[in-house]
Amino acid sequence: MTRILAAFALALLVTTSSCHRANSPKVIALLTPLTTSDMWKSIHAGVFRGCEEHDCVRYWNAPTHDHDFARQIDLLEQERARGVQGIILAPTDASALIPSVAAAERSGIRLVIAETSLATQAFPDVPTITGDNAVTGRLGAEEIGKHLTRGGTVAIVGLDVSRTTTSLRAKYFLQALKANFPNVKVVPRYLFNVSSNSSNELDPDSALAMLAHADAIFSLSTSGTRTVLDTFRAGQPRKLPFIVACDEDADLLAELRSGRINALIVQNTFEIGRLAVAEITKPHEHDKSPRLVLVEPKIVTAANVDSADMQTFLKPYRGFDR
């Protein structure tokens, strides 16, 4: 009698516990700064595609306010504790996430930094997959150089100290401009700090005065581009400068179509997401890949924005939205 009951209890226990484990898919967590911009929707679509290719399930979450790095730290800790197979982190802040990344690395979880790198290279074993900022800077310089054939001035805006991509884009833009278009001069660099609510360093009138005198503007981020457009919208200058901007969203694409923006340099965040999944799911013993993977951006103008290829590139969401 005792043996029968013991066997019954053991069978019940085994059945209950195996229900949770049987066929449980591998979960990869994608943690972005927000979910709502086209850039994050594209990286999510890439992760979703990657999971279809590598037999995993994606978990996607993000803070509900921009620049809320504390919430992203919570999410990183949560997913680490949950024991997911890997985490793809597009850091909200290049510095604030470093301690949590260190803890995740020590715990042995597979981690990929995506879209923008951390402010340190202290984690050589954590791969980083980002857009190629050198190509982004060069494309921006070429587009502006082609427009200002007789020379002129360009203002650089949109520096976001919480994102390393913006400073790298500025660096490579200046290098390419100096090397290839020496008659284009950079006017005093008006670098909006967009990482806090006190966004503008100058009052709107001063900002308009500075920007309106430039022949061209190179914007490093969507926040910077929006600030520029808002400044011009409020001030109504007689003539808009030639604007080349990095990254995109639906509003900026509409501005491109209307001619208020002349070119957008768009990162292939779909491919970044897809490669990040491949990186996490490959066997450890085959892990000889480079620790920094750069993905080429594309330049979008009014002439090509509505082509079929570019629309597929810009909107790879496959049924997802926002």
Partner: protein, 217 residues
């Protein structure tokens, strides 16, 4: 015949196991029949049964208001085993951006913009009734135009019926005039079959009152 203490213990253990299995098996019915119909008690100043996932929720004037502009705040209640039912509520947007509405068949809810499984129907400025599937992403299923537009500060009556794999959202005026309907059938292998219900706003403040949940006909 005398029963040994050991045998008594074994019989008690077996009875406990059988009772546990029976309770687990009957729990869905107990939960569902005891929960519906449901009516909120916001007018009595009570919201004990609701769980907030983001947002700043305040009771007042017989309604509950999310005073934050979180991109995806939720307030959830009800049994995870609820299947076919209709949620109805008066909904009002309190600022001029974003959308607000109702969620059904909610499972795995967490704080985060799209962080749950289930369905969402909401009214969005300037004139949209949205219906979408949530699976830690948002997939639009259907949308309809509200001809008179969506105005901040104005109450609308929103209802969402989850019946099988068909989800139907309706927006009416407070007087009962039908303004828009959006409906979609989720393919069976992807259909969320059961879950709790709740309130959700997206990058907007919103108010809800007269939340009524009934079994679907």
């Amino acid at each position: 015949m005398r029963t040994s203490p050991r045998k008594v213990l074994l019989i008690a253990f077996a009875s406990a196991v059988i009772a546990t299995v029976a309770v687990i098996a009957l729990m869905p019915r107990i939960a569902i029949t005891s929960f519906l119909p449901y009516h909120d008690q916001f007018g009595l100043g009570r919201m004990d049964e609701w769980t907030a996932y983001g947002g700043v929720w305040q009771l007042g004037g017989g309604a509950i208001t999310n005073a934050s502009d979180d991109i995806g705040a939720k307030l959830v209640t009800g049994s995870a085993r609820l299947k076919n039912y209709t949620v109805q509520s008066d909904v009002k947007l309190t600022n001029s951006f974003g959308d607000a509405g109702l969620i059904v068949r909610v499972a795995d809810a967490e704080e985060g913009t799209n962080a749950f499984n289930g369905y969402y129907a909401g009214i969005r400025l300037p004139d949209q009734l949205l219906l979408g599937k949530m699976d830690f992403g948002y997939r639009p299923l259907s949308r309809a135009t509200i001809p008179m537009g969506v105005k901040p500060g104005l109450w609308y009556r929103l209802s969402v019926e989850a019946n099988g794999c068909t989800i139907t959202a309706k927006a009416t005026s407070i007087n009962g005039d039908l303004l828009a309907t959006a409906s979609a059938t989720d393919p069976n292998d992807q259909c969320d079959q059961s879950g709790a219900f709740g309130l959700r706003s997206f990058a907007a403040g919103g108010s809800w009152r007269n939340v009524l949940v009934e079994a679907a006909p």
